[in-house]
Symmetry: C2
Subunit: 212 residues, 2 copies
């Protein structure tokens, strides 16, 4: 006869979520190799044994975190509704969205860097992630085709190359902020610098896409 809203003494789902959140933080701060299982357990406020109970081992936990992170960005992309916009506006919105996403979810970049250091061995096991990327390419293909037909975009742009380029120009900036800031002796994490970079990357993609 316990009240519906009473805090459950045991809440498996909440524990799972806390482990995932703690692992996301720890993995993105220290990388897969640098992250410590004990620290994740401590941050999640659960016994270390629970990580193994819920996720099997460190690598499988990392994969779960990776699936979470990829799921979030591809889900957000789907909600963009670029079909209602002109090709130029749509492309600008996609580039801005991608850039802003890196600002909002800095852990995404760190996780991908870690995964690439390890040859994408976790991701390759995840059918969920591998099936996730059709939609984005579809979005870009549609924008490029409409733009070329209307004569506002060049007609020789490859959708996958464009996708990689859109990701590149923002990703690299944030992935390498520390070395770039040190080298150029200016704080590239400042709002002013980030805003300047944001304007630049939109200029680059739209500038490139102008008809030849």
């Amino acid at each position: 006869m316990s009240p519906v809203n009473a805090p459950a003494k045991r809440d498996p789902e909440a524990a799972r979520q806390r482990i995932l959140a703690a692992a996301l933080a720890e993995f993105s701060e220290k990388g897969l190799g640098g992250a410590r299982v004990d620290v994740i357990a401590q941050r999640a406020g659960v016994n270390k044994r629970m990580l193994y109970h819920y996720f099997g081992n460190k690598d499988d936990l990392f994969l779960a975190v990776l699936e979470l992170a990829y799921g979030e960005i591809r889900e957000a992309e789907k909600a963009l509704n670029l079909d209602d916009l002109s090709p130029v506006e749509g492309m600008g919105k996609l580039v801005a969205f991608t850039f802003d996403y890196f600002v909002q979810a800095p852990y995404f970049i760190k996780l991908l860097n870690s995964e690439n250091l390890h040859g994408a061995r976790h991701l390759r096991r995840s059918k969920a992630i591998l099936d996730m990327h059709g939609p984005v390419i579809g979005l870009i293909t549609d924008l490029l085709e409409r733009g070329a037909a209307e004569g506002v975009f060049r007609d020789d742009a490859d959708p996958v190359e464009v996708f990689i380029t859109i990701a590149s120009v923002g990703y690299f900036y944030f992935s390498n902020v520390h070395t770039l800031s040190a080298i150029f002796d200016r704080d590239l994490t400042s709002e002013r610098e980030v805003a300047a970079r944001r304007a630049h990357v939109i200029d680059v993609v739209l500038g490139y896409l102008r008809p030849t």
Copy 2:
């Protein structure tokens, strides 16, 4: 009375170089955290104690490797002689060079990723590296100014943004080859794909720089 060319039983400089080369390989394959001091010693064919004798500790050894890697690319850049070329040709050559450099020295990307995961804490201690980047920016500034004056480049491009963009479009491709290859289910390390990317990144930079 030992012959000049007889192999010295002790060759400190050679030992130092072998340690550096082994550390470069190990650090770029496993990252700073994943690299093992014992493995570096083994790969270099020296006693582990020698790493500490020559370089002090693991972090200082990493910094030495970083200085070596940065020195190499900035030195190669200096030999480009872009002044003799037209702005468009010069910029094309710089973009191609940067891209090709990532192909030729894949360890450079791995080392930078590691350094950024650690907040550039080694690099910031290295005056040598921090003083290394004036020349490249000078090169780009000159190309942009000449191009704008001749009316073949837009006049609102910032040299540092352009530098970062030139690096981005190649760096990200190679840094993330494994995840990208998995996601798009095609081997982006193949010669054909690399050549296509190379052509694309030149198109992107030169396309963007066209006058507005």
